[in-house]
């Protein structure tokens, strides 16, 4: 327990100190974590901490990240990406692996070792690149999307690689490996259902598992989430979300597939689900923390004695590797027409080796493919190249991107999320607002926490997401940053006011339309910063009044003008009272408020008794003919 606390303390302190500094300096969080890892590595060594096993644990952050990436990608989008996935991604892997292999063979290694090294180096770091792209808001750019395609393809390719690598085993190393199995386990390999099975059974089980994820994700998750959400306990939903990701990862490990790929698949399946934003905001903090730990371990795992003893060789190899990978990427970007600044983002962003390289390296050592001494050096090269990646992003951001700013004015990308409206609450009130917005062609994101209702709406093809809008992280997941407008249509008074307060303070660019329950609530909302407040029953009451007037024989146009006058007077008074309302002072103790209310009541009495023309003239101004004396005078406006 003490050890755990100390370790957690060390990691957290390192992260909390280094990351803000790195972010401040514009280096990005990844470099911050890496530096934090380097800083605490002597301490960890003193404490005899097994950094690599922590790293394996933290790799689960990558699984979560891919789940989140999947959530953002609908199946249709994935299908549209197929050319980039197979073409761009496939070529990147084969070309890089082939070139690295050729160079290794020139350096005198056997073809099996050379090929294994090539495969290891062909991979890039999903963790660093996706995290950085998201952080810098480059994910949606052409370069970001191309990078994502390649990374996804690499993650998929790891699976056949893991199957293929043991075939490259060197006979003289096999004995060694058999003797000392300690050199490394791949972290996932210890548990498997499929080891004892023959080929076709294995294949069948694999297909079955994938089908289970797809079908289960589509049909099983909804009832489960509904059941869990009926308990109305937030942490229970978080637990369920974690359980979902972990169970998928476990299933994938059991059948020998990549847990990252399985999680990604589950994410894609759930991308259309109404629970998407809720899942996103539940998993996101775990992902962030685990990836942080992962990057710290990468920094901490660098063996500095080995590095300094072979400084020239390892730095040379690292720079050579980055140059080689960048060259391949650059060539591919020309073929696939990734242009301008995006080309450089793609070229520099993916030029490092990745965390799957570590996995693959330890796997090669365990399977007697690469001699341990070589693997240690290669590990250093991988780590160093990852360490240099944030610097490459900085080069891109500070030197390359500014040059292309002018040239970047091409027709903007799909602005599928621009001008978005978030509607909170999809009941009798929000539902109508949403229908009107949709009919006018605006895209809306609807949040509601009554899952029974969501089910019903889904049947009619209305897209509604499950979630409590009072949670800032959920608002974030729903895209409050890019939203133009927030429509608050929930029926809880206090929550609505809180929400207005929060959004008005933190996202002043978001226009808020709020539903008020009663007069007092209007003042509260006004005070909280909302300037477009609609009383939920006011308009219907006005219409009922108008209907009554018509039924009593009042001419429909007179009835219309009568209620219009009423509405205008009421709004005027409401505004005057709202600005003198203070939520801190009870209304009856607020002198200004009381005075204004009195004023209005007096005026209203005057109107009722016919002493004031104010109310009446508003109704009839314009149609009152001149008096007969006026008629005698010349030049009147025609009227009769």
């Amino acid at each position: 327990m003490d050890g755990f606390l100390l370790l957690a303390f060390l990691f957290l302190v390192a992260g909390c100190v280094a990351v803000p500094i790195a972010s401040r300096l514009g280096l990005g969080s990844v470099l911050g974590y890496l530096l934090a890892g380097i800083a605490i590595s002597p301490l960890l060594e003193m404490l005899h901490v097994d950094v690599i096993s922590i790293q394996h644990f933290a790799e689960f952050g990558v699984v979560m990240m891919l789940f989140l990436v999947g959530l953002e990608l609908e199946p249709r989008m994935l299908w549209n990406m197929r050319n980039k996935l197979l073409g761009l991604g496939g070529l990147q892997i084969t070309l890089t692996a082939a070139l690295v292999m050729a160079i290794a063979m020139m350096l005198g290694y056997s073809w099996t070792v050379a090929l294994a090294v090539g495969l290891v180096f062909s991979l890039s770091s999903t963790a660093i690149v996706l995290q950085t792209l998201n952080e810098k808001g480059l994910m949606k750019s052409d370069g970001g999307q191309s990078s994502f395609s390649v990374l996804l393809m690499q993650d998929i390719a790891v699976i056949p690689m893991l199957a293929f690598v043991p075939l490259l085993a060197l006979p003289e190393l096999q004995e060694l490996a058999a003797a000392g199995h300690a050199a490394g386990e791949d972290g996932h390999g210890s548990l498997s259902l499929v080891d004892q099975l023959v080929g076709w059974q294995r294949a069948l089980l694999t297909v079955g598992a994938i089908a289970f994820v797809v079908v289960g994700g589509s049909y099983l998750t909804r009832p489960i989430f509904r059941f869990v959400s009926s308990a109305r306990l937030r942490e229970l939903f978080t637990a369920t979300a974690l359980l979902l990701v972990i169970s998928i990862a476990l299933l994938m490990v059991l059948v020998g597939l990549s847990p990252a790929l399985g999680a990604f698949l589950a994410g894609v399946v759930l991308a259309n689900s109404e629970y998407r934003h809720e899942l996103e905001s539940d998993i996101d903090p775990f992902k962030g923390l685990l990836l942080g730990v992962f990057f710290i371990t990468v920094g901490a795992a660098i063996q500095f004695d080995l590095l300094f003893n072979n400084l020239g060789e390892i730095v040379g190899l690292t720079l050579g590797l980055i140059a080689l990978k960048a060259l391949v990427l650059y060539a591919l970007s020309r073929i696939f027409k990734v242009a301008g600044a995006d080309r450089w983002l793609f070229t520099l962003g993916l030029a490092q080796a990745g965390e799957f390289g570590f996995v693959l390296l330890s796997f090669t050592v365990a399977n007697a493919v690469i001699p341990p001494e070589l693997a240690e050096r290669l590990m250093l090269v991988v780590a160093l190249s990852m360490l240099l990646t944030p610097l490459l992003f900085i080069i891109y951001e500070k030197i390359i991107a500014p040059r292309f700013v002018a040239a970047q004015e091409r027709p903007s990308d799909e602005i599928d999320e621009a001008g978005k409206v978030i509607v909170v609450g999809h009941g009798r009130f929000g539902g109508i607002v949403n229908r009107i917005l949709l009919a006018a062609g605006f895209s809306t994101v609807v949040l509601d926490y009554q899952s029974e209702q969501l089910e019903a709406l889904r049947v009619y093809g209305i897209k509604v997401f499950f979630g409590d809008a009072m949670r800032p992280d959920l608002l974030h997941a729903a895209g409050i940053e890019e939203a133009k407008m927030l429509v608050i249509a929930i029926d809880d008074k206090e929550n609505a006011t809180e929400l207005v307060k929060y959004v008005a303070a933190n996202y002043p660019h978001v226009y808020i339309v709020a539903r008020a329950i009663d007069r007092h609530h209007v003042y509260e909302l006004y005070n909280a910063g909302c300037r477009d407040i609609i009383r939920e029953t006011f308009d219907s009451a006005v219409r009922a009044g108008r209907s009554a007037l018509e039924a009593l024989g009042v001419h429909p146009y007179d009835a219309e003008r009568q209620v219009r006058g009423f509405v205008l007077n009421d709004q005027e008074q409401m505004l005057a009272l709202a600005s003198s309302f203070d939520p801190e002072i009870p209304a009856h103790e607020n002198e200004e408020y009381v005075r204004r209310t009195r004023e209005y009541l007096d005026r209203y009495a005057d109107v009722m008794q016919g002493n004031s023309a104010r109310f009446a003239t508003r109704l009839d101004r314009g149609w009152v003919p001149p008096t007969l004396e006026d008629v005698e005078a010349e030049g009147t406006k025609d009227d009769s």
Partner: protein, 202 residues
């Protein structure tokens, strides 16, 4: 029997002395379709299909309104703007109103001598009604000579309301029964209740 459609438009009808009585009379004439535009469309959401159907089903369209600023009350302008559609009332294929008649029954505050080149309104009343006359022409409708009541605001004081309303009622009945002499009406620029060319037997 001519099918007659009367459109009445007066937003401040309760302040009206003449038009209200005219509307009351018109409503009572059997066999005539009477429409109070401000009652049908208090929120100006005019039903174009319904109005076009009405037009198609009638032979004579008569607009009854007070002259406001040398034009119609606003709802009647709105009605023209959206009901007289291209392809329905005019333009390619817009022949649905062809051959029908359009007539106006207006009240004007100014006396008849104001509507002369020397009077304060400077032009004859007919000149102010040209936009509607040309609207009828573009729709291939026959624009009949308008019926007018001058000095309408003073009418109650000088006993002009009753005879005007009675003349209006007779006009509607005559049009309905084909006793109105459209030809003879042509000779005048503007008609008053005393000069309506109505024959007693058809």
């Amino acid at each position: 029997m001519a099918r007659l459609l009367v459109y009445f438009a007066h937003p401040g009808h309760k302040h009206s002395h003449v038009n209200r009585e005219m509307a009351k009379a018109a409503r009572e004439v059997s066999g005539v379709t009477f429409v109070d535009l401000y009652a049908d469309y208090p929120r100006f959401d005019i039903d174009v299909d319904r109005e076009q159907e009405r037009l198609v089903e009638h032979d004579v369209v008569l607009f009854q309104f007070p002259l406001f600023w040398y034009s119609t009350p606003s709802i009647l302008k709105e009605w023209q703007d959206i009901v007289l559609e291209h392809g329905f009332a005019y333009g390619a294929g817009g022949d649905r109103l062809e051959g029908k008649k359009m007539m106006l029954a207006v009240t004007a505050a100014g006396p008849d001598d104001a509507y002369t080149s020397g009077g304060y309104q400077r032009y004859p009343l007919r000149e102010f009604l040209r936009p509607l006359e040309q609207t009828a022409a573009l729709c291939n409708m026959h624009f009949a000579t308008p019926l007018a009541l001058y000095a309408a605001l003073k009418a109650p004081l000088v006993g002009e309301v009753d005879p005007h309303v009675a003349g209006y009622r007779k006009l509607l009945e005559a049009i309905r029964d084909d006793r109105y002499d459209w030809q003879a009406a042509e000779s005048a620029d503007v008609l008053t209740y005393g000069t309506l060319p109505i024959s007693e037997v058809s």
